[in-house]
Symmetry: C2
Subunit: 207 residues, 2 copies
């Protein structure tokens, strides 16, 4: 499949890969088994974004809200994020893991990526991220996600039409594209649809 790139291309895209649990339930699996099927599509996603020249992407891994879920789920989504990040770190990307790394919910394996490592497309993975944790940085200086730039486009899988606490400051002007398919059913065509739609939006930034 070819990815259309003519016309306005977003500089920074956010991805909310939702629907892993519903995908698993629909297949007769346990809810927590869905996350592992979300890792491979993440590699494909980065590959496509690199090819079309996106400069920066931010991916919603898990949040501090999410860690209140049952332990089996928590362990599964945590493992999926670790597997994903460690594999991605071996490729040509500049990886930053954004989240509260002072909490025991933050995987020790990812601590070194709390500062950006590597060169290439900027990949920001939100792990144990919380919008309040992020904004609380303002009280003493700057956003804790200060190394994440403003988003042009946000793509969400799983049909939900909300941000669910995803980078509230960087999202202020972002166009939001929602895909009904669950994240593990990711198809490259989803990105094509999102980019095609994005080109049709006017960008006034309120001016």
């Amino acid at each position: 499949m070819s990815i259309t790139t003519n016309g306005r291309v977003p500089r920074h895209i956010g991805f909310i890969p939702d629907g892993n649990r519903r995908w698993a339930l629909a297949r007769g699996l346990g809810k927590q088994e869905g996350y592992a099927f979300g890792v491979e599509p993440g590699f494909a996603l980065i590959d496509i974004c690199q090819k079309i020249g996106i400069e920066e992407i931010s991916i919603y891994g898990f949040t501090q809200d999410n860690t209140r879920r049952p332990a089996t789920q928590r362990e599964s989504f945590s493992k999926a994020c670790i597997d994903f990040a460690l594999a991605v770190a071996q490729t040509d990307v500049a990886l930053l893991v954004v989240g509260d790394d002072e909490s025991r919910m933050f995987p020790a394996e990812l601590k070194r990526y709390a500062r950006r490592q590597g060169k290439g497309i900027k990949v920001n993975l939100l792990v144990n991220y919380g919008w309040e944790w992020d904004l609380n940085g303002l009280k003493t200086g700057e956003l804790r996600s200060h190394d994440v730039s403003r988003l042009d486009l946000i793509v969400r899988w799983g049909g939900g039409r909300r941000l669910s606490g995803f980078l509230p400051v960087q999202s202020v002007y972002a166009d939001i594209f929602v895909i009904d398919a669950y994240w593990p059913d990711f198809e490259p065509s989803h990105i094509n649809e999102a980019l095609k739609w994005f080109r049709q939006q006017d960008r006034t930034l309120g001016g």
Copy 2:
């Protein structure tokens, strides 16, 4: 027309009444002439929200970004907000005008509503509002919009699928419903559609 109210009703709804300029252009009017046609629908909107028992509503008037537009537009949207607010203040509502009231862009007529006045459904009108102005409050204490509660649902007219800087903190978990019609073409059925859709969304708040 009857407004369906069975089932889950949002406590606080945000409204982004976009499309005034496009509505005017489509009728052969000057861009700035659209805003005046957005006042009357606002009264209908409040009336409906009162009838179905919504506790609080927030309406996007104009932003600090918007004030960079040509003076004819700026004067028109400012007048529309003043006309709307002063009329609404005469009814059974608790009106709060939220925005930078230290700026000359903030209408003097609305200064007294920078603190909530009156009793009834809470109506928050954003006038000369800026998301940075709002967040900057955190540096010395709390959000400048601290008297505006978390949003359950946001309804936007004019087809845009973005928040455009609308209350970023209160919007973190809100479901976002987009109506393609331009705001001056407001119909009560739009609210019915939004509420019907809202009832179908699951509300996990990340848990």
